[in-house]
Every structure is written in C-alpha cells, then in structure tokens.
Amino acid sequence: MQERNGWGYRATLAAVFVGLIVLPHVLSFSQKEVLVFLVINVLVVVSYRLLTLTGEWSLAHMVIVGVGAYASTLLAKRLGIPVPLAMPLGAVVAALTAYVLSFPLFRMKAFYFLIGSFAAGEVIRLCWKRFREPFGGPKGIKLVPSFPDIEIGFVDVSFFDPVNYYYFCLIVVTVSLVLLHRFEHSRIGLTFHAIHWQDKLAEAVGGDTRRYRTLAFVIASFFGGLAGALLAHYLGTVNPNQFDVEAMVYVLVWVIVGGTATIYGPVVGVVTLTVVNEIVLRELGMDQARPLLYGAILIASILFLPDGLESLGPKLKGAFARTRTQV
C-alpha cells in the first residue's frame, strides 16, 4: 500500500490507460462490440460489489440495471429528453426504485434477503413482460434513441461506431469507479466495512446499520442503472429477458470468481471470464458450452478459491516469500 503514490504505481496506471486506449484498434469488429459490453459489465459488477460490502447478497441487481435501461429509454423515446440527460435520469430512477424496495427488503437478512430481493426483482421484471403499455411486453422496446453524434467544427464523432462508444463508456465507467473508490474510503464507506464484519458491534457504537445498508443499496443501484442506460442506448433495444436470473447468475459468477475484498476483484473476474469466453469458446465454436464452463468455474472457485482470483496474487507472493526464507 505504501507504493500507492510511488512512481511504480503511477507508471502501471498510465500503462493500463494507454493499453485501454490502443486496445480497440487491434481488435476485430465483433471483438470491439464485446469490448463495449465488457466495459459496461465492469460498472455492473463493481456497483454490485458495493452492495455485497454490507453483507447482503441481492438477486435483484440485474433488474435494477434494467430499471435504468427502461427508464432512460422511455424518457428519451416518449418524453423526448435528450439521451445524454436521459441516461443519468435513468440512473436516478433506478436509485429511487432501490430506495422504495429497501423498506420491505431490509427487514430481512441473509437468506431471506436473497430470496426477498429475488421476488421483488421478478415482480418488476414480470410487470415489464405483462404491461405492453408502456414497457412493450415480452418483446420489449425497439428503436431506442441512440447517443447523438457530436459535431465540433471538422470533428464529427458518431457513436454508432463501437470504438467511439467504447471511449465514451470508458470515460463514464472510469469516473464512476473513481467516485465509488473514493466513497468506499470515506468515513461512510469504512462504516460499510464495519457493518459487514461486525453489524451488532457497529450498531452498538452508534452506526444506524439499516440506514447505511439503504445508502449502499441506493448508490449501488444508481451506478447499476447508469450501466443499464449505457447498454440500452448502445444496443438500441431493451427487453425483459436481458435482465433475467440467468444474467444475474453471470454477475454472481464474475463477482465470486474475482473476489469482493477490493474493487479490483470483480473487475479481474469479469475481464478474465470474458476473455476466456471470447478466446476459448468462440474461437473453438463451442458457444453452447459456455454455461457448462461457467458452472464448473463457479464450483471450482467456491471449493478451492473462496476468496476469488484477487487472493491469488498475495497467496503466490506469500508462497514465494516462504520458499525464499527456507533457502
């Protein structure tokens, strides 16, 4: 940790950024599209991690992402609000939804919370499916307004091009990650950690655990909703099946395989598994085997690596140090 402000840390960070900027230019078109989804998914998993920090595992997060997507879409399409404004408004709607849901849900804990959040999410999702007006029913909403082109003098940036949309998402997601990171290391964020490890003790020293849990849920949902809005205006279509339990299971896999102790864990998880998915399965033409592989990875990581991939670094370092002292 003392290296945080050192040159090594800064150099690594700079190298990662240069890499991220150059990256889309060495990929094929379909890989560029995957890259856009990957960047959006990073925001989904990191926001989900904030929620798990308070010790509760929600199964409604993908539906909240969907609320952001639907809200932003409807605001842009029905009310004619410009897309760049509709996106944050969609995120606000997702946060408000989470606030309302927090009243019944935070009466529950542990397993009951898990199931309760699942039920609440399914109710919302089934409403999208049932009510054609305004949600479009099972087929959802098509022709979602896309992000407007930017024209400044000679420069004309079209966001139909995945590379440009990727840069846009990269900026939004990076800013979000920095905000989430700062938030976690603020006084409130430290209280989250306290609630995670010792909720009775945290309450005894004057922390209102319910309020902090609600706050974590609302903030996580805001950024989740933002990710949903980014997704909707890129894909051009939203439908209830995008946000079903299967999608939620993939989020769980990414977060668990990566680990939740630090903000890097889920990012490592989603990046690793997406790369594995793209390189191994798509190149081999075994797309159907994806759930098989994901299931096996999930089971293996629960049994053998319960703290996720992020724990691998320190573990290896420890093993290395031990062999050196033995010598």
Binding site: W57, P104, R107, M108, A110, F111, Y112, L114, I115, G116, F118, A119, A120, E122, V123, L126, C127, K129, R130, V245, V249, L252, V253, I256, Q288, A289, R290, P291, L292, Y294, G295, A296, I297, L298, I299, I302, L303, P306
Partner: protein, 291 residues
C-alpha cells in the same frame, strides 16, 4: 360456472401435489444441511429427461422410466452431497452458490445432449375420467398418476420420518446436528440420506409430470421459483408447512391463471411471498429461528 369452479379445483389439486413433492424435498435439504439447493429445479428437469430418454426414445414402459428417474436423480443427489455440500458445510452461502454452478452445468449438458427445443412426449395413456358426474369436470389419468404418486410419496415419507430409526436420526440432525452427532448419529450419513430422498422426490415429480408439462432444458426455472414461494410461505424448516403452502399456492395460482392470466398469477405468487417475508418471516407454520 359450477363446472368451471370444480374443474379449476381439480387442476389446483394437481398443481398442489406436484409442487408439494418438490418443495418438501427442498425443505428436507435445507433442514438437514442448512443449504438452499438452487439446482432443485434442474433435478426435476433431469427426472423429466429420464422419461424422454427411456420412455420416448427407447420405448420402454412409462413406469420403468419413472423408476429409473427416481434412482438416477437420487444417485445424483448423493453425489451432490459428497462433492458440493459437504466441503462447504460451514458456509451456507457457498453451498447455495455451488448449487447455482451445478444448475448451469446441468442445463448446458442437457441442452447439448438433447437440444434446446421442447420435447414431444406421447402420453402413456389418453384415458380421462369425469368427476362428480359432470361433463365439464375432467381429469386425465396422467394427472391422476401425479396426484396419487405425490400422495404415496408424501405419506411414506411421513411414516419414515416418524416411525423408523433412520427417520428419527434425520429429524434429530435437522433439529441440532451437534447434539445428534453426540448421540452417535452420523451427520454425513444422514445428510446423504436426506439428499437422496429429496433428489429422488424431485426426479419422480419430473418423471411423472413430463408428458404434462413443457419439457425443455430450462424448465427448472419456473419450478424453483414456485418451490421458493411455497417453502417461504410455509416457513423454512417445516415440512407440514410446505404441504399446506403447496395446497394454498396451488389453489391461488390456478384460480388466478384461470380467471386472469399466467403472468399475473406469477406476480400474485411472488407478492404473496414478499408479504409473508415482511410480515411473518418464519412463514405460516415455521418455527422461530434460533439465534
């Protein structure tokens, strides 16, 4: 109108009996091992695919296929206990997540082996009965199989739990594993037994219902959602509660489906569960949780 009401009641009894088979098994696993088995719907699906493979493809008798489904899925249950749930016994969340992993694997394996389209099963019998001497009230023999099968299984489970030493051991483990172990009861052996019974029940339910429901690799999803609703409404850890809740939910869901539509019935069921969770988290017949 009377005919429609009576017919709906008959349908509700069918729905309730097949839900009870699944929910009671789910509850048994939770009671003995403290794990919520998310892959329970997939065990149901495997039971149905045993019938597809043995009865529809190989043309063996239907009831042989059902027995094979029972043994095969029950055996898989034993395997799950050993490979998934035993290593993570101290951590219920880990068991739940491991079962989600298994769910993905089973779905993909069946989808790759049989394809994702719906299977067409020739019904083993076309016979139907008129009940109460009314033309409008019909029950198919295939549905009677499910109702009678569920009745037999549930009654024998009840007798097993109340009247045999294995049953007592099982209930003792569910109440207090440590105290049970101190009395010389093998926790691993009991967990294996509970897992076999629960998985076999799901397998039988799937096998019996296979010609009646839409059989496809993702059929487990709606089943597990229903089973969760029933277990929560009935109260976690209470087998009697699961049966009562299965009957209640069977009637509510069938009536709402008949008089409105299926999606609304699902919404009503989920809201019912949410209300129970908020107002009475221990369920209708649940016992207060020990701290």
């Amino acid at each position: 109108m009377t005919e429609l009401l009576l017919q709906t009641c008959v349908n509700a009894v069918y729905a309730a009996s097949f839900m009870a088979l699944i929910a009671v098994g789910l509850m048994l696993i939770f009671g003995v091992m403290g794990v919520v088995n998310f892959a329970h719907g997939e065990l149901f699906m495997l039971g149905a695919y045993c019938v597809v493979f043995v009865y529809a493809d190989r043309e063996f008798p239907f009831f042989l296929a059902v027995m094979i489904g029972l043994v095969f899925v029950g055996g898989l249950g034993i395997l799950m206990e050993r490979a998934l749930f035993r290593p993570v016994r101290d951590n219920p969340l880990a068991g739940l997540i491991a079962s989600i992993g298994l769910l993905l694997m089973l779905q993909a394996a069946i989808a790759m082996g049989f394809g994702v389209r719906m299977e067409h099963l020739p019904p083993p019998s076309q016979a139907t009965f008129h009940l109460f001497g009314l033309d409008g009230v019909v029950v198919a023999l295939q549905r009677l199989y499910v109702i009678v099968g569920a009745g037999i299984v549930l009654v024998s489970l009840w007798l097993f739990l109340r009247r045999t030493r294995f049953g007592w051991a099982l209930r003792a483990c569910a109440q207090d594993p440590e105290a049970a172990a101190l009395q010389g009861i093998s926790i691993n052996g009991t967990a294996r037994l509970a897992m076999f019974i629960a998985a076999a029940m799901a397998g039988v339910a799937g096998a019996l219902a296979a010609p009646l429901v839409r059989t496809y690799p993702y059929m487990g999803h709606s089943v597990i959602v229903t089973a969760f609703i029933v277990t929560i409404v009935g109260g976690l850890g209470s087998l009697g509660g699961a049966v009562v809740a299965a009957i209640l939910y069977g009637f509510v869901h069938t009536f709402v489906t008949t008089f409105s539509d299926g999606v609304v019935a699902d919404i009503v069921g989920l809201l019912l569960m949410l209300f129970v969770l908020v107002l009475r988290p221990t369920g209708l017949l649940g016992v207060r949780e020990r701290d």
